[in-house]
Subunit: 425 residues, 2 copies
């Protein structure tokens, strides 16, 4: 039976989960995968974590060189996070010819070229299933399950924290800050939630997934990003009345005009399979030219789901000696011009406060019409203070046209525009 | 660039779709997969199919020997269906050392051992993603995406025809025979629908999927099977009023008592992700010990979705030279005793017609109680003829206990039992 030595760098949530899974399943993997996976060492500065997992002290490496120079270590699992130490350690491991399995989406999306170059040069494997959507094997699916397809679109709920907050806001009709506080208290959000609620985490993942789906390296800085911090329960309720659910969506499209990648809150029709993905669950909806629509749904985070992705990568690496790397138009030909679309097409939801007097609606409609924006749905409600709330859902239009129309409506004092949200049709 | 020669046997729906995909994507696969896939030959008795696809006559093989002896053919794609010719041809190809890609669930589940033995003996690959759930890459996911997990349960809607019929019955409140007639007219059901509506198709697929999920070869004849021909719109409506959707479910469980595999109509709570899978869509809900719950959703049939699975297998075979076969407890040790559970645990829905008179309900409840069956929900409605309809949903109990209780209720004349359906909790 093939024996494979593993070293785990970082024993936080994901590294700890990985250790637990490997320990509890060693006999199972020998029986079902014909591979003997042995944790040769761990590297972790926090001794309490090492003790809590019951790891014998002699397995604790005192420095990274001990790990990468150990001939018994075949696979280095990086679960440190961040881009400083993690990058150095991953490069050290690859340069020593060790296969690397990582859950680090930020590191991977920012330094993909560099890591892959080192891996290829030293004939090492590089696996990153756990970097995107926890236990859901979306990367393996894109590489080895849907590769017959030209993929035109991926739309996903790929951040569990924001989906938990938005689901809570919708169900309990509470504010963003109330829902955030509850999510922090329950461990669904970090004390500093910026990476999640500002959409960075989803944008890192989208950069990776869109690259694989569209065979073009999509840099993180090309992803349009808008978080959920300004989402109001009023919008969620108004959208619900029109038949929509509000989600933080990651949208990637491969269009004749170029690649379009964006992360923002968006309304989606309640009949769509993504609309009912609630709580901390994630899902990715992929459209391919042969397969049609397909969706993967599951836990996007957590020690055991993410550990499942890491260990599946370890087993894959242990049982396949051939190395495979995804092919990108702009890797083989770095100068190849890839166009990124910033003025993307979408339908829009606009909530405005207007004076409740004759002619206002006609003037707003005229501004929209001059911007070639046509109205699909419109509702109006009058409040006690003589103001009216106008909710408009447009037909398909473009981001720039809507921004321009909103600026005109605001500048001319016709209305206070409270919210502009995209609607996925 | 690696060149791979393919021969397609059978140009019906799936074989024709495979040919179209390969033809239209040849340049795409060269660019993204670095592989040049060439259809060297086809084998098909119906000349019209060959012409309709625009295949040059010289590519039409006149017999199977021409295909399997052709040194330019590396991969033989079997899309003939059935188990007579298809089995001989697949064995001929494997014995000639050709890798085989097949969509033939019946052939595969009935002769898996024999085909795999031939493949291993002749160092040939054997791929069967297209045999289960069309374009949804559930087999690749079980083999290479979730292999870190001990899987306890797979529950799926894995037959598009029956899901189309049941969705139509629920939405239009029509009978089974009306819905079947419409499905046949629209091409969603075959003129002879038995393989679908009697549950054979789903049982073939469950035999394959449960084998992979539980690492134990699950013979087709161990699958409990009940079709949808007796489903009535009354039950669908009564179930809907209680919050359930009716689906033909394939259920596989790995329990301490043994493996449980069954295909039957079942109620499932409307909040469950499977409940909203409508029309001809399919979905499979998998529970693993690390990943938790995960679902794959997509088109379970059709020329292009199933072709997507076949071509993804072709690309996988073309780009991986190492051969991998799943490991089964009862392959390495054929005598290994695998226990199959026939008296499975479930909740039940019972619809009965009773005389609308005092004491009847108490007597029925007493029969159920003597069988250790406790009642979760109960509704009663009285019709004009002095009869009452009683709908009972039980808590978890066992198949044998319910059958015995139903026999007692019937034998004592307490009620006419109109329907017995399982409820998935």
């Amino acid at each position: 039976m093939k024996k494979v030595g593993v070293s785990i760098l970082g024993l936080g949530v994901v590294g700890g989960g990985t250790y637990k899974i490997l320990k509890e399943h060693a006999e199972f993997y020998r029986a079902t995968q014909c591979v003997d996976i042995v944790v040769e060492s761990v590297f972790e500065r926090n001794k309490e974590r090492v003790e809590a997992l019951g790891i014998p002290p002699e397995k604790l490496a005192s420095n990274i060189a001990e790990v990468v120079l150990d001939p018994d270590v075949n696979i280095v699992v990086e679960c440190i996070g961040g881009v400083t130490d993690a990058k150095d350690y991953v490069l050290d491991a690859l340069n020593a010819g060790k296969t690397v399995v990582t859950s680090n989406k930020e590191l991977f999306c920012k330094y993909w070229h560099e890591l892959e170059r080192a891996a290829k040069h030293h004939n090492a494997g590089l696996f990153y299933e756990a970097s995107c959507v926890g236990g859901v094997p979306i990367i393996r699916t894109l590489l080895d399950g849907l590769q017959a397809n030209e993929i035109s679109s991926i739309v996903g709920i790929i951040n569990g924290t924001t989906n938990y907050i938005l689901t809570d806001m919708a169900e309990k009709k509470i504010s963003y800050s109330e829902a955030l506080a509850q999510a922090v208290a329950l461990g669904y959000a970090e004390a500093d939630p910026a990476a999640d609620v500002e959409g960075y985490d989803a944008a890192y993942k989208l950069s990776i997934l869109a690259s694989l789906a569209f065979h073009t390296k999509v840099p993180f800085n090309k992803v349009f990003r808008e978080g959920i911090t300004d989402v109001s329960p009023t919008d969620i309720a108004d959208g619900a009345a029109l038949g929509y659910a509000l989600k933080l969506l990651a949208v990637g499209k491969n269009t004749p005009a170029g690649i379009e990648v964006r992360v923002h809150p968006a309304f989606i029709e309640k009949g769509h399979p993504l609309a009912s993905v609630g709580g901390s669950y994630n899902a990715i909806f992929v459209t391919g030219d042969s397969v049609g629509d397909i969706m993967l749904y599951g836990r996007g985070a957590g020690e055991l789901p993410t550990g499942s992705a890491i260990v599946s990568d370890i087993i894959y690496a242990a049982t396949h000696t051939e190395l495979h790397y995804a092919t990108f138009k702009n890797t083989a030909a770095p100068d190849k011009n890839v166009n990124f679309v910033s003025d993307f097409a979408s339908a829009y939801y606009l909530r405005m406060t207007v004076a409740d007097e004759p002619g206002v609606l006609a003037k707003i409609a005229a501004v929209l019409a001059r911007g070639n924006i046509s109205i699909d749905k419109l509702t109006q409600r009058v409040s006690d203070d003589g103001k009216a709330t106008l909710v408009v859902v447009t037909h398909m239009t473009h981001e720039a046209a809507v921004k321009s129309a909103v600026a005109k409506v605001t500048a001319t004092g016709l209305a206070e525009v409270n919210s502009v949200l995209r609607v996925i049709l």
